[in-house]
């Protein structure tokens, strides 16, 4: 599946500003993250700590992904 990834916050330091056009076998949000961790070992510190956003919604683990979707990669937050 083709996806467009937008890294946020400290993930920009690891993945660049993006958007990243990727081609991956993932069909759910959880599968996307598993694939990402395999492809980018530098994400190790964020294992279990990244949320996926689509539009103005956060995705669940089993949320299905669709072709050409823009997925926000959202690391731990530090506003305030």
């Amino acid at each position: 599946m083709n996806l467009i990834l937008i890294p946020y916050g400290p993930l920009v330091d690891v993945l660049g500003e993006g958007p990243l056009n990727i081609e991956c076998p993932a069909t759910t949000a959880a599968e996307l993250l598993a694939w990402l961790h395999q492809q980018y070992p530098a994400l190790q510190a964020w294992r279990g700590r990244i949320a996926c956003g689509l539009g103005d919604e956060l995705l669940r683990a089993a949320s299905p992904l669709g072709e050409a979707q823009r997925i926000a990669l959202i690391p731990p937050v530090s506003g305030g």
């Binding site: 956060l58 937050v77 530090s78 506003g79």
Partner: protein, 141 residues
Amino acid sequence: MKHLCNGPIALEALLACDDPACGAALLFTGCVREHNEGRAVSGMLYTAHERLADKALADICSEALQQFEIRSCRIIHRLGELRLGDISVAIAVQSAHRPAAYEASRWAIEAIKQRVPIWKKEHYIDGASRHLDGHTLDAAL
């Protein structure tokens, strides 16, 4: 984006109390501090997933109104490059009686720090910069 801004936060508007049922108002402001974790700070960059952040801040206002006996809750978070002393976030709560205003304000700032997709990148006087550690969202996978 109702809850986000890129310049100084207009505090006067937040302070305005035109609800005669209110007896108490509490304005919390957070600002950029010269030291953090022992390092001398020169400024701070705030970035956000603006759409999700605005929605999360709206949710926090709604939930505060449901959970506490308050009459209004307004939150503004500033984004972009901030200097020392600049206000990054303001929370204005108004209520008939003061205890609810304190409880709601305190709850709201904690919720902001835990739930809103906004990130700090600290700049230090030695020229270095780094993103701060943060709170993992409940939706993290």
